[in-house]
C-alpha cells in the first residue's frame, strides 16, 4: 500500500465489521485487507435522484399486487428517513423485500419447505414525502431456517434499501420486530456490536399507527449519513 492515503480505515462502531466469523458467509467474501481511506471528494459526491416515474401507485402496498390478498398478519410499516442532523430526506427511494408469512421468499434459491403464497411477491418501493415520511402496507414475514450453523433461524425481518442525497448515504439494512426470541441467536443481527445501534434496527409497535379492525402499525425511522450539502 502507498503511504499517503492507504491508511487502514476501520468501519465505525455503528456498522458491523466486515470480517465477522459467526456469520459464515463472510469467510470468503469479506475483504481481508484494510479499506483505504476515501479521498475527500468521495463522501461529497451526489447520489442518484429518483422521481415519480420510478415508483408505481401501488408499489408501496405488498397486499395488493395480486388478485387476492396474501395470508398473514396485515401490518403497516411507516416512519421517517432523516439524516444525522435530524433533517428529513425527501424523495428518497425506499425499496423493501421480505419472506411471506410462512417464512419463504419467492426466489429460486429459497429451499425452505414452507408454502409459497400465490398472492404475495414480497417486494415494494416508495419515495419519501416532503417530511421524509414513507409507508408500506404488507404482512408480517415469518422466521425461517438457514444453513449458517445447526438449527439456525433468522428472526423475522424486512430488508430495506435506501438512497439518500449523497453517494455516501446509501444504506442497505434489515428491520426487525420487537421482542423476537431469535435476536440473541442471530449472527447477522448480533454483527452490529453496539447494543444501542442494534436497537435501532428494531421497529416499534404503535397503537397510534394501528388501524382498528384492519392492521397493526409498526414504526421504523431510518437515519442516513449526513450530507455536506443540501
Amino acid at each position: 500500500m502507498g503511504e499517503d492515503v492507504a491508511v487502514s480505515a476501520p468501519l465505525d462502531e455503528i456498522d458491523p465489521p466486515l470480517d465477522y466469523p459467526d456469520y459464515r458467509s463472510t469467510a470468503l467474501r469479506a475483504p481481508k485487507r484494510p479499506l483505504v481511506v476515501a479521498p475527500d471528494g468521495f463522501r461529497d459526491l451526489a447520489g442518484p435522484v429518483f422521481g415519480g416515474d420510478d415508483v408505481g401507485e401501488l408499489d408501496h402496498d405488498l397486499t395488493r399486487q395480486h388478485s387476492g390478498e396474501p395470508l398473514g398478519e396485515r401490518i403497516t410499516v411507516s416512519g421517517c428517513v432523516l439524516d444525522e442532523d435530524g433533517r428529513p430526506v425527501r424523495n428518497a427511494l425506499v425499496e423493501v423485500w421480505q419472506a411471506n408469512a410462512g417464512g419463504r421468499y419467492r426466489h429460486d434459491g429459497d429451499r425452505h419447505p414452507a408454502p409459497l403464497d400465490p398472492n404475495f411477491s414480497g417486494a415494494g418501493r416508495t419515495l419519501t414525502d416532503d417530511e421524509g415520511r414513507y409507508e408500506f402496507v404488507t404482512i408480517k414475514p415469518g422466521a425461517y431456517p438457514w444453513q449458517n450453523h445447526p438449527n439456525a433461524w433468522r428472526p423475522a425481518h424486512i430488508h430495506f434499501s435506501l438512497f439518500g442525497r449523497a453517494f455516501s448515504s446509501r444504506l442497505v439494512t434489515q428491520m426487525y420486530f420487537p421482542g423476537d426470541p431469535l435476536f440473541e441467536l442471530d449472527p447477522i443481527f448480533q454483527s452490529v456490536r453496539d447494543p444501542k445501534a442494534r436497537e435501532r434496527l428494531i421497529a416499534g409497535f404503535e397503537l397510534g399507527l394501528t388501524q382498528p379492525e384492519w392492521a397493526l402499525g409498526y414504526r421504523f425511522d431510518i437515519v442516513l449519513r449526513s450530507t455536506p450539502f443540501e
Binding site: L28, R29, L45, P48, V49, W97, A197, L201
Partner: protein, 160 residues
C-alpha cells in the same frame, strides 16, 4: 441528534426487490460496455452479488445496477464520464452480496487514460500493484473489470 441506522447484509434473496427489471444501461446506447465478474477468496464466482455504478455528469448523477449471473458476471452500458479538474475519469462502484455486512465501495478507471491516471490523486497515492486493481482492461471493445473480494489480487476498497 439522531444516530445512524446500521448496515446489514443484502442477503441471498435481494433479486426479488432490487433487480426485478434491468437497470444496467446507465446511458442507453452508450459507447462504453463494461463487463466483469465478482470473485470470492477461493477464486469462485459470486452468483448473488449486485453491483451499482454512479457517475457524475452535467445532468446530475447517472446510475445503474446489475445483479451477477450464475457465473458471477455483471454488465453495464454507459459513456465515459468527464473528469473533474486534475483527476482521471472514473466510475464509482458499490458491491452488495450475501456475506457482506456492509456494501463495498471501489472505483473503475479507464485503460486508455494512462496519462491522466498517472497523475490522478487517488490512483497515484496507491501502491502501483493496488492501483492496477482499479484500472479496467480493454478486451474486444469491452472494458473488463473483475472485482476480487479477497486474495493476492484483492481489489482496493474504500472506506466512505
Amino acid at each position: 441528534m439522531p444516530q445512524r441506522t446500521p448496515s446489514q447484509t443484502v442477503g441471498p434473496y435481494f433479486a426479488i426487490g432490487l433487480t426485478r427489471e434491468s437497470q444496467n444501461e446507465i446511458v442507453p446506447g452508450g459507447a462504453v460496455r463494461i463487463s466483469g465478474r465478482v470473485l470470492d477468496g477461493g477464486g469462485e464466482p459470486v452468483p448473488d452479488a449486485v453491483v451499482e455504478i454512479s457517475q457524475q455528469s452535467g445532468d446530475g448523477t447517472l446510475w445503474g445496477r446489475c445483479g451477477t449471473d450464475a457465473g458471477g458476471s455483471f454488465e453495464f452500458v454507459t459513456e465515459k464520464p468527464v473528469a473533474a479538474a486534475r483527476e482521471a475519469p472514473s466510475l464509482d462502484l458499490m458491491v452488495f452480496a450475501r456475506g457482506l455486512l456492509k456494501h463495498l465501495v471501489t472505483r473503475l478507471y479507464f485503460p486508455d487514460e494512462a496519462e491522466a491516471n498517472s497523475t490522478d490523486p487517488v490512483l497515484s497515492a496507491l501502491d502501483p500493484r493496488d492501483a492496477a486493481t482499479l484500472v479496467a482492461e480493454q478486451s474486444d471493445g469491452t472494458l473488463r473489470f473483475d472485482i476480487h473480494l479477497q486474495g493476492d489480487r484483492q481489489t482496493v476498497f474504500f472506506a466512505v
